[in-house]
Symmetry: D2
Subunit: 431 residues, 4 copies
């Protein structure tokens, strides 16, 4: 059966037509190309011009990229008169018809511009990259947040959940994908192809990633899993196993999610990670009926930063606790000796340090927001340089219990409630 | 390698969770379910509720469906106060920030509602069906056009071109798809599976369709092609061939698109047909380098309806011509005897009968809008009942010449210009 | 990723080279072509000549086909002198080296001939068809059994089990395969595409087939399965269900294999059927953990033929029983009235009628040889014309209990032992 | 659609049944297991025992492996009495029936033994490995050649051409395959994954391999190709390009096969390599119509070994030429300075050094046997250590001209004729 991706067809069109339509115009500035893109009628012209814009963009210097986004922010808004007229009609008679007219009039032209750019083959790669750039300018150019919002609104629609595909990553996966897994691993670095193989090939290891058809070979997010007989208390036992710990597949009781990496900074705030672990749990349950426990082994990446700050809202007890921990040396011995103290400060950090109503710690936000709860704390669990300096060597097990996930998620989403194992309660200081 | 469609995972979730969350609420009205859908926080709850809405909708009577759309039209607009405030801020300072805020405030809540419905598995099938229903109410309930517009805006984004996949339809295609080809054929009826086979299996026949990943097994539009040594002058020679006309593949000179069917009324105005033939031309060129001519053999489906009407804008000569043709009997003999007269009326119909600046004939609009031009007219080309009664037995070859497609398309799109073969010029009456 | 079947490449070669090598020789007789095939050195020439032989064979009349096989039988044996010399060397010193030499000298040249024919693309289809023809000549030309044996020896190697692929046949299967399922169904005729759909599409029906990569789109053997809550007592309840009996998938307790068809007469005696049901049982267990019972509902296709014969070995009691049944009318009423009598004759037929040490009934031979045992007999179970005339309306459940399959199979294979349900024991006459 | 490899089903069977059937017998010696395998009736028992034999074999020491093969050679021949009787019947009446009986009686039991071993899942890997071992014993145990012959006869049938699949090897290929490409490259070593990528990923590089369904992830033979504008004169320009030489795909004129590696020593003498390049030529012609020249850039791996030997058959002129070259230093400078001399010795080596009627050089045998001809010689083409020491830095272009391949192949196969470019004629000494 002959198959043909429409993208491949368009690619052919772009290549062949480029010569026909654009001799000479290669010299056009990117702003002129944008004008042309918005003015064109022909569909083929549009996709050829869109490709030109995207290629041109890639060659821009940092300064010119900033200029490009400023142009988007300033010159691709709306026709103010049309908006006013549409509003007045709506204000007089707020019918659905008038609302729709207003909605269209008030739609930033950037939306149409991004849609037209997206009509050219492989534009998704370029546009995700474009937003990655854009986010670097936001701090110093807050007005560009409008442009970022437009990207988010369109990406949310294009990267809809219905298109996501979960794939197993293993030694049969293509090198093109595996190379990116090595590159994107953000929690526990993968040193080389041998190290990669030790994480995805042994029978007691699994790796899963979400993909999207518009981003060929590009994982969006992936999780590495270790299959074990017990909940692990340190990361080294996992990273150094190399498959020697494999046992008969019916004896595994526990799946540990020990590394979760988001791959596409350009897709920040486009949510799909919150379904990843739930789907992986389901896949693993199907393959290994004996596994009943699904936990993470997670870093506490914001701990030290929080220890280093003080706010007026903290109780004297908490301040005292933080001071005690800060006084400890950052080495293995001190960490082992003062395990209980560290455990106490970790738990109070997770529960009391907030960003709005949610936890300040990003990893905690991710798992608690997914409906997991805080199950166990381990000190002396990660003696890597990063582990000591960020988390005082401590790690957390967040527990994914499918029975409670939805209720936990709702409570968390509405009230910021954090569920935890009762046994940890005694660690909590009065807030 | 384990693969998992996210849709399959969500389906499992919906099945398992329905019992958990919704005991009792099965009795909720569809309006209450919509309220619930818009109020929910939990992601799983949302996709379960969405599925309930869609299932509930399917069980509604026609009257209740109309009520459902009226509810959408009346109660899912926007917060009028918020719109007013957003407009005032924008009016005072028309920054991109304020525009974005206005744009969001003025977005009809229907958009979010449709997005939430679309989060549940296989929602695309349901929503396309929903719009099919909706279109039936538009004539008598013009206010529902607002709702239809919202469907169009969201469908345009979801059914983006980048996702379309062209597939060959042949005897190796699944029965699930072939059954729909039989059902959806709109031009020359397919009588049974044997008739189908005679159109897709012989070496001198081809069939291509566009598919979209969210609509599994559902062709969006398909075209049937005959490979020949000459441009055909009648449809019967094609429909009755049954493959006996197959010759050595290097001897074909002409590909004839003799039937094009849109399959999804719920996707009307979402354009993808205009790329279908261009991509098929490219596929055929790759497979058969000897084929240089790509034409349609098309009905003139609006001819008789136009003959039956009169307008003040018509010249006396045209009126006279129409009268002469109307006086002819609707049978084979009369049609053959007065070939030239019919040819004349057909050509003037194609060029002069307008809907706005474009041709009144829908098939002409499709092909001319694609960049084809009128190449030849044939009388006595289709003696089927439908052929005689709609088109006086006449048919048209629209020519797809890739060199001129883009320029033809642009002229047509901007000015409504219709290109035609010079040899036809003498048939034209002064307008 | 570019893939290329080697067969497709060879097909291209054959097409292109045919003109180059064989202008003129199209007139060669098939015997001359065989000579040429055995004499050629060039590999491309060999595959082109092989294709010519196969095409030429297809055009032969029945008489000439018989002549073709006689030629194979008479003229493609061995060099008698070489055999004699090789034997003498072996006889003198029966070393492995001398045995190998003798083995090669005594290999009928037909083997090499068939191997060379099989080097051309799609030869498998032709050779299987060739043996189908051959089997028709065996009765009147018993010397051709040698040729048949050579086919069997080579087919056994080419159609090795390791290549068999089990596929689900359902409404997503290609029309090219489904058409053959309709054609090959040998037990309960499939009337048309709607009837087919009712057997493979409903959620309480399944169909599985074995395929081989060299026979594209050609099922080798297939089985139709009904999922039920109880062991069925008649075939009509299954054939007329049309899916209305579908229940929640967790409630099925029983899988019934109600139709098993061998598709390729040319592959007779090449065993693979004996693994089909075992693998299907395994697939169904995976999908439906609630199904614990796997039985057939099988015809007793040799019953009436046996009733019509008499042998000296039969006891007076058995002859009397047969006479009583033969005296019954062949209609529904008589069959229902004398159920017990029919049951008795059926059971004694299954256990006492023999072909060598194995049962005379071919269906019984298949299932008992697979390790199943006789579980239940049903009278009034198939009132179709064929059912009444072949089996007096009776059917059998053969039970597949995976725990006993291997031991049953061994006992049956070695001693011809037939296992049955103890409850049936009272039906047995003294042999 | 559910698919199930029969192999996977058998694997499950073997796992589950092993416990049932073989408790205790794990201790059986491999010779006892072979006895059991030949004696068993049950099909499941047979595939379980076969797996036991293969696993047991893997654990044997070298000495015991030799013992295993000696056992095969001595004890799995034929029933001498049966052979004698069959011969006598045949000798008296040499009918096809009697020949077939003799053929079966004289078939070494090793054949049936290997067939039974091959019935167990993944046996192909084991048996290919077994023959790899066997070949190491042949020199010192020439009687084992009988066993090797039996392997060859069965492998020839199992690894029939019709099953070979050509796949493109590129950066989208699975790591499991790529890892083997690195390992099996036998001509120009691949240093690491980056080096691999530079050979398969750039647009001006291609790699193709033959695979067989029974050897999952195992390439049988692969070829690396460089796309160029000219025939290259040295290997370094190819190995060091890293894709920087990529040009517009329509500008390539030449495909260079610069490395061909056989991967499976256990499949030696099972021919499929001779079709690899022809099929690759066809694939490349389809993708790059501008490529008209298909040549190798090949080492002359036997040159120095030949220079180091003398035979009585050599003319004084040839001996003199060899002496001159042997007197040269093995370094870049000497090689460059005496280019013509080296060219002369190379050409006379290729044409005059023989093994039987064919060239002594293994690379020459491969390409000339494929129908290629000697097109150009390059000195100073490979300054690697291996290149200098084996070939005096020289390389050959063998030309694949599809018009002459078959005729060249036939002449070569029948008479050992070597075709070469007329321009090289002057280099030839009188033989």
């Amino acid at each position: 059966m002959a198959f043909g991706r429409f993208q491949d067809f368009l690619s052919g069109l772009v290549k062949r037509q480029r010569g026909l339509f654009f001799t000479g115009s290669e010299e056009a500035s990117i702003d002129e190309l944008l004008d042309k893109l918005m003015g064109t009628v022909g569909e083929v012209s549009a996709i050829v011009t869109a490709r030109q814009v995207l290629d041109h963009y890639d060659d821009l210097t940092d300064d010119h990229k900033l200029g490009f986004f400023k142009n988007l922010e300033q010159n691709y808004n709306a026709n103010q008169v049309a908006v006013k007229l549409a509003f007045e009609a709506y204000d007089e008679e707020p019918s659905s018809t008038n609302l729709n007219k207003l909605s269209k009039a008030a739609e930033p032209m950037r939306h149409e511009l991004l849609r037209r750019l997206n009509s050219t083959p492989d534009a998704a790669h370029n546009l995700v990259g474009m937003r990655t750039d854009l986010r670097n300018y936001l701090r110093d150019n807050p007005e560009l947040n409008s442009v970022d919002e437009d990207f988010v609104r369109l990406f949310s629609s294009w990267f809809g959940r219905g298109f996501l595909v979960l794939k197993t990553i293993n030694w049969s996966t293509s090198a093109a994908v595996l190379e990116r897994i090595i590159r994107y691993e953000a929690v526990h670095e993968i040193k080389d192809w041998d190290d990669l193989r030790s994480r995805i090939d042994p029978p007691n290891r699994r790796c899963f990633a979400f993909f999207h058809p518009a981003l060929v070979d590009e994982p969006l997010i992936f999780v590495e899993v270790a299959l074990l007989k017990d909940i692990p208390t340190s990361i080294d036992s996992i990273l150094e196993d190399k498959g020697t710990g494999a046992i008969d597949s019916s004896e595994y009781s526990t799946a540990v999610f020990y590394s979760i990496s988001n791959c596409q900074p350009g897709l920040q705030n486009i949510s799909f990670g919150n379904f990843l672990i739930k789907q992986v749990v389901q896949e693993l349950q199907g393959e290994f009926p004996s596994i009943k426990t699904f936990v993470t082994l997670s870093p506490i990446s914001g701990l030290q930063a929080w220890l280093d700050t003080k706010t007026d809202l903290e109780t004297p007890e908490l301040i005292d606790l933080k001071n005690q921990v800060n006084a400890l040396s950052l080495n293995k011995e001190a960490t082992e000796e003062h395990g209980h103290l560290i455990k106490q400060v970790v738990f109070n950090y997770l529960l009391q340090a907030k960003k709005g109503k949610y936890p300040a710690d990003p990893v905690a936000r991710f798992h608690l927001g997914n409906g997991a709860y805080v199950y166990q704390l381990h000190t002396g669990a990660d003696f890597s340089k990063k582990g000591l300096s960020q988390s005082r060597g401590a790690m957390v097990n967040y527990m994914y219990d499918l029975r409670y996930i939805e209720i936990n998620h709702e409570r968390y989403a509405i009230d910021g409630d954090i569920e935890f194992n009762d046994k940890l309660k005694s660690l909590l200081l009065e807030p």
